[in-house]
C-alpha cells in the first residue's frame, strides 16, 4: 500500500513539474534588441531598439478566451445588392465560428442606427442569423453613431477575460454625425483604454480609408481593404480567426531610457514619450504573433570600449489563458568600438529589417499626405526616396525577403502614380488605399512575416 502511495506521489510530482513546464510555454516572450550591438565610438548617433513580444501558441480552440463582438454593418444605399448580400453571408458564416460562451451584438446603420441584435450570448444562433438576414440597404452613412452604439453594446458585457471587438464594415464616406479621421481616431484611442478594439473592413474604393485606418490603428484593431464584395466571407472569417486567437490583452509596454540617451520617436504603435519614459499599449497579441515596436534613440558620443545601457523594458499584460496579469522585463546594452568592421559585423539583420520596414512605412505615409494635399511632385519624390532607402537596405541585408517585398511594393506604387494628374484620379485612390493597407500591415505586423518567423 505504501509503495503505491509513493508511486502516486511521484506521479503527482511529475504532473506538477509538467504543469510548470506547460505554464512556461503559456507566457508571452519579450525580446529587446538593438540594430547594432556595437556602435561607433566618439560620435553622437541615432540607433534603433526593437522591442518584440511573441504570443504563445493557443493549443486548441477550446482554450481560447470567450469573445464579445459587436458587428457593425453599413446598410446605406451604396451597399445595395451584391455588397449587402455578401456582407450578410459573410457575417452569418463567420458567426458559426463562435460558441455558446461568446457574446455577439449586431448593429446596422444608414442615416440612423439600429441595434438589430443587442449584446447576447451565442446560445440562440438562429435568432441572430435571422435578424442579419432581414437587413436591407438604404439611406446615408451614420458611421460614428454605428461605432458608438457598437461600443455601447460591447460595454454591456465588458470583461477583461473576453476579447472585446467591434467589427465595422463600411463602403462609404461617413456623412451623418462626426466624420473626420481625427474624431474617429480619438474615439478609437479611448476605446483602447477600455480594452475594446475596432476592426474596420473597408469595402470597395469609395470608403474613407484614412478614417477607417485611424479608427482601427488607434484602437488596436485590424483594417482590411476589400476590393470585391466576394472577398467579404473570407475577410470576416479571417477577422474572426484573429479575434479567436488572442492570447494576451492590454499589453502595456514601458521602456525606460537611461539619462543621456534621448528617445526620439516610436514606430509601430502609438506611444507617449514622457521624458525618459516611453509608454505604449498593444491591444492584444494573437497566438504565435510576433509584434514589435521600434524606438529611435539618440546616443551621445561615448568612449571606445565602454558599455551603455540602452533600455529597460517591462511589459504587463493580461494572459488570456490564465486570466492573470503577467509581467515580463528585459533590457539591452550596446558596446562602443572604434573598428568599423566590428560595428558592421554586429548588425542584426532581422532587427534591421523590422526597423527599415517601419521607417519606410512612415516615409510612405508622408508621401501619401503629399498626395492628399495635391502635391504630386513631392509625393513622387518622397516615394522615390523611400524606394532608394529600401534598396540600400536590401543591399545591406539581402537575405530578408520582406524588405525585397516592400521595395517591390514601393516600385508598384510608383508605377501606380504614373500619369496620375490629380489626387482625385481613380488610380490615385487605388494607390492610396493600397498604401494605407500596406503601411497599416507593416505598423501592426498583422501578417506573419516570413522574415520574422523563428
Amino acid at each position: 500500500m505504501k509503495a503505491l502511495t509513493w508511486i502516486q506521489t511521484a506521479f503527482l510530482l511529475c504532473g506538477v513539474v509538467f504543469a510548470r513546464i506547460g505554464e512556461a510555454s503559456d507566457q508571452v516572450k519579450l525580446d529587446v534588441t538593438p540594430v547594432r550591438g556595437i556602435l561607433k565610438e566618439g560620435e553622437k548617433q541615432t540607433t534603433w531598439i526593437r522591442v518584440g513580444v511573441e504570443g504563445f501558441k493557443l493549443e486548441s480552440s477550446k482554450q481560447r478566451p470567450p469573445v464579445n463582438l459587436a458587428i457593425v454593418l453599413d446598410k446605406s444605399g451604396s451597399m445595395k445588392g451584391e455588397k449587402i448580400q455578401q456582407a450578410i453571408r459573410g457575417a452569418i458564416d463567420a458567426l458559426s465560428l463562435l460558441g455558446p460562451n461568446d457574446i455577439v451584438s449586431v448593429i446596422t446603420y444608414d442615416s440612423t442606427v439600429n441595434v438589430l441584435v443587442p449584446a447576447t450570448k451565442m446560445t440562440d444562433i438562429e435568432t441572430v442569423t435571422k435578424a442579419i438576414r432581414s437587413i436591407t440597404a438604404d439611406g446615408n452613412t451614420a458611421l460614428f453613431a454605428g461605432v458608438s452604439k457598437g461600443a455601447a453594446e460591447i460595454r454591456k458585457f465588458l470583461d477583461k477575460e473576453r476579447v472585446n471587438r467591434v467589427i465595422l464594415l463600411s463602403d462609404g464616406i461617413a456623412n451623418v454625425g462626426p466624420s473626420s479621421p481625427g474624431e474617429l481616431g480619438a474615439l478609437g484611442a479611448t476605446l483602447l483604454k477600455e480594452n475594446i478594439s475596432v476592426s474596420s473592413l473597408g469595402l470597395g474604393l469609395g470608403y474613407n480609408e484614412d478614417l477607417m485606418v485611424q479608427l482601427a490603428a488607434k484602437s488596436g484593431g485590424n483594417h482590411q481593404f476589400i476590393e470585391q464584395a466576394t472577398e467579404l466571407a473570407d475577410v470576416f472569417r479571417k477577422e474572426f480567426d484573429d479575434v479567436l486567437s488572442v492570447v494576451a490583452q492590454e499589453v502595456d509596454i514601458q521602456i525606460t531610457i537611461p539619462p543621456g540617451i534621448r528617445p526620439v520617436r516610436v514606430l509601430g504603435n502609438e506611444a507617449d514619450i514622457n521624458g525618459q519614459q516611453v509608454v505604449t499599449r498593444l491591444a492584444q497579441i494573437y497566438s504565435r504573433q510576433n509584434k514589435h515596436i521600434v524606438i529611435e534613440v539618440e546616443v551621445p558620443a561615448t568612449e571606445n570600449g565602454s558599455k551603455l545601457q540602452l533600455a529597460n523594458v517591462s511589459v504587463d499584460y493580461t494572459n488570456m489563458k490564465t486570466n492573470q496579469r503577467d509581467r515580463l522585463s528585459g533590457n539591452t546594452e550596446v558596446k562602443f568600438s572604434m573598428s568599423a568592421a566590428e560595428v558592421e559585423k554586429s548588425l542584426n539583420g532581422k532587427v534591421l529589417a523590422d526597423v527599415v520596414a517601419l521607417v519606410s512605412s512612415e516615409q510612405s505615409k508622408i508621401a501619401t499626405s503629399f498626395l492628399d494635399a495635391g502635391d504630386l511632385t513631392r509625393c513622387r519624390q518622397a516615394l522615390k526616396e523611400n524606394g532608394d532607402f529600401l534598396e540600400r537596405n536590401v543591399a545591406l541585408y539581402p537575405s530578408d525577403s520582406r524588405l525585397l517585398e516592400l521595395s517591390r511594393a514601393n516600385k508598384i506604387q510608383q508605377v501606380q502614380l504614373d500619369g496620375v494628374k490629380s489626387n482625385s484620379d481613380p488610380a490615385a485612390n487605388v494607390y492610396r488605399k493600397g498604401q494605407r493597407a500596406l503601411s497599416y500591415g507593416v505598423d501592426q505586423q498583422l501578417e506573419p512575416k516570413p522574415g520574422a518567423k523563428p
Partner: protein, 564 residues
C-alpha cells in the same frame, strides 16, 4: 312639382346647412389648432425627456470627473498614468492658486498629447476666459451659499455653466466647480474644473469623440418598425401617441450639423423641425429637434374635421327628411285638390246633359204655351222664363267650371269659325236681356264689328257672358250696361261698361286671379270668383287680352277685350 317649390325646399335644406357648416368649420379649425398645440406640447415633452437623459448623462460624467480631479498633490507621472487609463480623458491640467499652469508645464518636456493640448488651449490659459469663469463661479457660490443656480450667461463663442449636484462638505472655496466650453479642432470641447481647498484648480478636458459617442450610446436607436400598417385612422388619443407614427429626432451642434439622429421618418434636406429645444448644460449651444411627417400634422386635425363632416351630413339628412315629409304632405294636398277639381269637373260634366234636357224641354214647353190662350199661358210663361234664365245661368256656371279645369290642364284650344262678331254679340246679349231687364239695367249696344273673322264662338260667348254676368251680379246698382265692339286690322275689340261701384285701381290685377273676390263676406253677391280669370285666359288663348280701363265718367268699370 313647380320650380318654385323645389327652390323653396332646397333653401329649407341648404340654408341652415350652410350656416351650420360655417359655424362648425370655425369650431373645427380652432379644435385643429388646439389639437396641434397639444401635439406640439407632447413632442416637446418627449424632447424634454430626452434632454433629461442627456442631463443625467452629463451629471454622471460630472460626478466621475469630480472624483477624478479631486487631486491636491500630484506628480506628473501619476497624472500621465491617469490620462492613459481614463477613457473619457483627453488631458488633465492643474493651475496653481496664483494662476500659474503647473501641469502640463510648458517649461518641462512634454509628450505629444500634452503638447497638442497646450497648442490648442494656449489662449484659454493666457486669456481671461477661464479665469473669469472661475471667478464668476466662485462669486456666485459666495453669494448664494450652497445653492448655486445653473448659469444662463452665455457669450458668442464660450459659455460657462455650472451645476453642482454634488458638493463636497467643506468651505465655499472647494465647492467651486463647473463646466467650461472651449472651441478647438473644429468643435466644441468640454472642460470640467474644480477648485481644491488648496486653492489650485484641477481641470480635465474630455475627449470629444468619446463623450459624443457616449451621448449617442445613451440616446435611443431606430427600432425596426414591426409593422407599418394601421397607420392613421385611429382615435385622437392614438394619433397623439408618438409611437403610432414615424418621427425623427435629431441632435445638432452649434453649427446646425447633425450629430446623431434616430427614428424611422426620413427627413429631406432643409426641412424645418416641428419643434426644438436647447440641449441641457453644458451643451447649451446644441439643439434637440423633432421632425414629424406633414401628413401626420394634417391627420391630427382631420379627426375634428371628420367629426364635423359627420355632423353636417346628419343635419343634412334630417333636413332632407323634413323637406321630404313636407313635400309629401304638400304633394298629397295637391293631389287631393286635383282630385277635387277633377271631381267637380266630372260632376259638372254630368250636370250638363240633364241641364240641356231641362232647357230643351223648357223651350218646348214655351212653344207649347205660346199656342195656348194668353190668359192661361201668362202665369206659366212667367215661371217658365225664370226656369229658362236660371237654366242658362247654370249652363254658364258649368261652362265656367269646365273651362277652368281645361285651362288648368292646358287643353284649351280655340276652334275658329268665320263669323260676324256683332251677330254673336247680339245673340249673347239677348240671352241676358230678360235677367238684365228684371234688374232694370239698361242695355246700350254700340256695335261696329260687321266683318266676318275667324273666331271661336264659344270663347267669345264665355268671355262676354262672364263680363255681362259680372255686371248683373256686381254692378246692377248702376242700372246701365254698355257693350261696344270695333274691328281694326283683324283685331276685334270689345268693351263692357257699367255704372256700378267700380273696382279700386289697387285691385285691378287681383280680380283676374282665380277665386279672388273683392269682398269675402258671405252677404256679398254670389259668385265663384273664377269668371274674370277664365275670361282673361280665354282671351289670351285667342291672341288677345282683357284689361280694366278707367271709365270716362269716373264711375263704374270698363273691361276692354281684344281678340284676334
Amino acid at each position: 312639382m313647380k320650380p318654385r317649390s323645389i327652390i323653396l325646399i332646397l333653401l329649407i335644406v341648404l340654408l341652415p346647412l350652410i350656416l351650420l357648416a360655417g359655424a362648425s368649420l370655425r369650431l373645427a379649425s380652432s379644435e385643429k389648432e388646439t389639437l396641434q398645440k397639444r401635439f406640439r406640447e407632447l413632442m416637446e415633452d418627449r424632447l424634454r425627456d430626452i434632454n433629461g437623459g442627456i442631463r443625467r448623462n452629463f451629471e454622471n460624467i460630472e460626478r466621475e470627473m469630480q472624483q477624478l480631479t479631486a487631486i491636491d498633490e500630484f506628480d506628473v507621472s501619476q497624472l500621465r498614468q491617469l490620462i492613459r487609463i481614463q477613457p473619457r480623458v483627453l488631458q488633465l491640467f492643474v493651475i496653481s492658486e496664483k494662476g500659474q499652469l503647473l501641469y502640463p508645464d510648458p517649461t518641462q518636456t512634454l509628450n505629444s498629447t500634452e503638447r497638442n493640448f497646450l497648442l490648442n488651449t494656449a489662449k484659454m490659459f493666457t486669456g481671461q476666459d477661464l479665469r473669469d469663469a472661475v471667478l464668476q463661479q466662485e462669486n456666485r457660490s459666495e453669494q448664494n451659499g450652497m445653492l448655486a443656480e445653473p448659469s444662463i450667461s452665455r457669450t458668442q463663442d464660450k459659455l460657462q455653466d455650472k451645476q453642482a449636484p454634488l458638493r463636497a462638505p467643506g468651505g465655499l472655496f472647494n465647492a467651486a466647480q463647473g463646466w467650461f466650453v472651449w472651441y478647438w479642432d473644429r468643435g466644441l470641447n468640454l472642460i470640467y474644473w474644480q477648485r481644491r481647498s488648496s486653492g489650485q484648480i484641477v481641470g480635465v478636458a474630455l475627449e470629444r469623440g468619446r463623450w459624443i459617442a457616449d451621448l449617442i450610446a445613451e440616446l435611443p436607436d431606430t427600432a425596426v418598425a414591426p409593422n407599418s400598417s394601421g397607420k392613421g385612422n385611429g382615435s385622437v388619443s392614438q394619433q397623439l401617441n408618438p409611437n403610432s407614427f414615424e418621427t425623427r429626432f435629431r441632435l445638432t451642434n452649434s453649427s446646425a450639423e447633425t450629430i446623431y439622429q434616430w427614428g424611422p421618418f426620413n427627413v429631406s434636406d432643409g426641412v424645418e423641425p416641428f419643434c426644438e429645444i436647447p440641449v441641457a448644460a453644458p451643451l447649451h449651444s446644441w439643439r434637440l429637434q423633432c421632425f414629424v411627417p406633414e401628413e401626420q400634422l394634417n391627420l391630427t386635425g382631420r379627426s375634428a374635421m371628420s367629426g364635423l363632416l359627420a355632423g353636417l351630413i346628419a343635419v343634412a339628412l334630417a333636413l332632407l327628411a323634413m323637406a321630404w315629409v313636407l313635400y309629401r304632405d304638400y304633394a298629397s294636398g295637391m293631389r287631393e285638390a286635383a282630385q277635387q277639381v277633377s271631381f267637380v269637373n266630372q260632376v259638372s260634366h254630368e250636370l250638363k246633359t240633364p241641364l240641356t234636357n231641362i232647357r230643351l224641354y223648357a223651350e218646348l214647353l214655351e212653344t207649347d204655351l205660346a199656342s195656348m190662350s194668353p190668359e192661361d199661358a201668362d202665369r206659366p210663361m212667367g215661371r217658365l222664363n225664370v226656369i229658362l234664365s236660371e237654366g242658362q245661368r247654370l249652363s254658364r256656371l258649368i261652362g265656367n267650371v269646365l273651362t277652368f279645369a281645361r285651362q288648368k290642364r292646358q287643353s284649351l284650344q280655340p276652334h275658329r269659325q268665320l263669323l260676324v262678331p256683332d251677330e254673336l254679340i247680339k245673340q249673347i246679349v239677348d240671352r241676358f236681356r230678360p235677367a238684365l231687364d228684371s234688374l232694370a239695367i239698361r242695355i246700350d249696344l254700340e256695335l261696329d264689328a260687321k266683318v266676318a273673322m275667324p273666331i271661336d264662338p264659344d270663347f267669345l260667348e264665355q268671355i262676354l257672358g262672364n263680363l255681362i254676368s259680372n255686371v248683373e251680379k256686381y254692378a246692377a246698382s248702376g242700372k246701365l250696361m254698355r257693350v261696344r265692339s270695333s274691328q281694326a286690322e283683324g283685331v276685334l275689340t270689345l268693351s263692357v261698361e257699367d255704372a256700378g261701384p267700380g273696382i279700386p285701381i289697387s285691385k285691378w290685377d287681383e280680380v283676374f286671379r282665380p277665386f279672388s273676390r273683392l269682398s269675402q263676406s258671405v252677404s256679398y253677391a254670389a259668385g265663384t270668383g273664377i269668371g274674370l280669370s277664365i275670361a282673361r285666359g280665354l282671351a289670351r288663348e285667342h291672341g288677345g287680352d282683357i284689361t280694366i280701363c278707367q271709365n270716362e265718367c269716373d264711375i263704374g268699370c270698363r273691361f276692354r277685350v281684344t281678340m284676334q
